[in-house]
């Protein structure tokens, strides 16, 4: 039973690795959406496991995206280096912000993370160095637009996020943080330094979001305030994680994959009303599978085992 799990993961990775040979450029482009949403949704979920509901994905993705494009534009650094810098800057911002706001709980924390992202959006829109409202265009896309290489880049980022998430569930931090989300007072009295762990996980997840955003906008060789700080990046990953099932590694992954592909598919089928159908899917999903696809899967395996 235990080995079959690893086997399944192995098969999944082999399939993912083989995909560029079989997919056209358009499908590879959609895979970019899938991978970037996996990184967003899963990193968001990692923070949620510690009891903090963040609306800040768009903000950190935007910071990463802007930093990396600015590095490329002003210093002509290699795109990969730009992405790493973007990730690092998002992490550093998260460190400063997190050490201040992680004491907040519940909706208060959510609103503050949202507001921080919005502040950065207004700043880049008003400054000349960030290209003001028109944004910045890079002369060339990463890998000169080679779709296979781009696929590997996004695949690597998504895989990295998955690995971090799996490792994270085996560390002391995870046990500490689950104890926070269960009962903070008990956790605190048993000597767990809640705050330190929260800051660490906030920095790590924000750096991942920054990295994904940085890579994403390197692919399109441009950033605009409304595009990079798009609130869709805050809400859609949350939706995807919930759709797949929160609190697990594979839930957000599956949710992101299904919903990103579905969104594109609906767009082809109903050019004018795809979002309407998307809305109905969401409502139906939450009413019929309230704990997401992973929840259904667990119920199923539980029944199968008895």
């Amino acid at each position: 039973m235990k080995y079959s799990k690893y086997l399944a993961v192995l098969v999944l990775f082999i399939v993912a690795a083989a995909l560029p040979n079989y997919l056209g450029l358009y499908q590879l482009q959609i895979m970019n959406f899938v991978f970037v949403y996996i990184a967003f949704a899963l990193s968001w979920d990692m923070l949620l496991r510690s009891g903090q509901l963040s609306f800040g994905i768009a903000g950190f993705a935007g910071i990463g995206g802007y930093t990396s494009v600015l590095c490329g534009y002003n210093f002509a650094l290699s795109p990969i280096l730009c992405i790493l810098i973007g990730s690092a800057v998002a992490g550093i911002v998260a460190l400063f912000v997190g050490s201040q706001v992680l004491k907040l709980r519940g909706l208060y924390f959510s609103i503050v993370t949202l507001a921080i992202g919005e502040i950065f959006r207004v700043i880049v829109r008003n400054l000349e160095v960030t290209g003001a409202a028109e944004g910045i265009l890079l002369p060339n896309a990463i890998f000169m637009g080679n779709a296979t290489k781009t696929y590997w880049l996004m695949f690597a980022i998504a895989t990295f996020t998955i690995i971090i998430s799996i490792l994270f569930q085996k560390t002391r931090i995870y046990y500490a943080l689950t104890s926070i989300s269960n009962d903070e007072i008990v956790a605190a009295s048993s000597g767990v330094n809640i705050f330190k762990y929260l800051v660490i996980i906030f920095v790590v997840t924000s750096a991942i979001q920054g990295m994904a955003g940085a890579a994403y906008w390197q692919i399109y060789a441009s950033v605009t305030p409304e595009g990079a700080f798009n609130l869709g990046f805050a809400l859609l990953p949350i939706t995807m994680a919930l759709f797949g099932g929160v609190g697990t590694t594979w839930g957000p992954v599956i949710g992101s994959a299904i919903l990103s592909v579905t969104a594109e598919y609906l767009k082809l089928q109903f050019p004018h009303g795809h979002l309407l159908v998307y809305g109905f899917i969401m409502v139906a999903a939450i009413l019929w599978f309230p704990s997401g696809i992973m929840g259904v899967f667990k119920q199923f395996t539980a029944k199968f085992n008895t």
Partner: protein
């Protein structure tokens, strides 16, 4: 200074807060009288839109991410009542209240009823789905074309001491006061309202003492939907109508409820006053107006942080 205003109100030290606010009003009034009027009108609109959410989210802990979309649907209702039957939008507030109470009932039975008691996050997803259905459904019915009734009275104005200002938007001030008083009466003076507060604080305990919890959720939900939808007609007298207009007001309302403090109806009104006045004041400066949004978000963060700090000190 602003933080201390909130704090003082939090401690019910009304007198001190009152004096501070009065001083601020006089200062602004001398500096830029129009800011006072327009800031008040803007704050009132913010409060009006956020109050129904404060009731639903603050009192019974239901997150409705389709808040702004219900307002949008209500606004379209008024538009078509006016286009088809020549009904004045302000008059159509009354039928809107009734119709959208029933609409809320249907929405509740079809959706929200089934996720009460489930993880609260599910409400987010549900609300997001409903908001898409409402805005895209409205696009399918009424197209994306922006609409705006041409009403003569909305640009009515008055002049006092050489300052010309609009008078119509005092409707929002009146509306906010009525809704505020109504909610206060409901929550403080009626058994249902007190039951709602009890349900919000401890649903299980409320059930134990014999409160029909389901009915309370249902009632508060429908009242909130009816109110926000009936604000739609008032909103659309001054603003252009289009199916995607709701989402920004959902986020705005969220922020106001968070700044005002969960569970506090009056807190939302103070929050709206601070944010609306602050925003109008910054906007009134030609040079720094473009940073108004930053001030707005910084105030949100500042007030929330300060209050959390206060709680920890205590």
């Amino acid at each position: 200074m602003i933080n201390s205003i909130v704090n003082q109100f939090k401690q019910r030290n009304f007198l001190f807060g009152f004096i501070l606010i009065l001083a601020a009003i006089i200062l602004i009034g001398i500096y830029k009288p129009a800011v006072l009027v327009e800031g008040l009108q803007r704050s009132a609109l913010y409060a009006l839109i956020a109050l129904p959410m404060a009731l639903l989210l603050g009192i019974v802990d239901i997150i409705n991410l389709a808040h702004g979309e219900f307002m949008m649907v209500g606004a379209y209702f008024a538009y078509f009542m006016s286009a088809q039957f020549g009904m004045d939008p302000i008059v159509s507030v009354l039928p809107a209240l009734l119709i959208f109470f029933i609409f809320g009932l249907i929405v509740y039975y079809l959706t929200f009823k089934h996720i009460i008691g489930k993880p609260p996050l599910n409400q987010l997803l549900l609300g997001f789905g409903i908001s898409l259905i409402l805005s895209e459904g409205m696009t399918a019915i009424a197209t994306n074309a922006p609409r705006k009734l041409s009403l003569d009275y909305v640009s009515s104005s008055a002049s006092i001491g050489g300052v010309t200002f609009g008078t119509f938007e005092f409707v929002y001030v009146a509306g906010a006061l009525i809704v505020l008083l109504g909610m206060q009466l409901l929550l403080k003076k009626t058994a249902t309202g007190q039951a709602a507060v009890a349900v919000g604080q401890n649903p299980r305990g409320a059930r134990v003492v014999g409160i029909n919890v389901n009915n309370i959720y249902l009632l508060i939900f429908c009242v909130s939907i009816a109110l926000i939808s009936a604000i739609g007609p008032l909103f659309m007298t001054r603003y252009t109508l289009f199916p995607q207009m709701g989402s920004s007001f959902t986020l705005k309302s969220f922020s106001l409820v968070a700044v005002g403090g969960m569970g506090s109806i009056t807190g939302v009104v103070y929050a709206a006053l601070i944010l609306g006045m602050g925003e109008t004041l910054v906007l009134s400066s030609l040079k720094y107006g473009k940073w108004a949004e930053i001030i707005y978000f910084a105030l949100i963060i500042g007030v929330i942080m300060y209050r959390s700090h206060q709680r920890q000190v205590k």
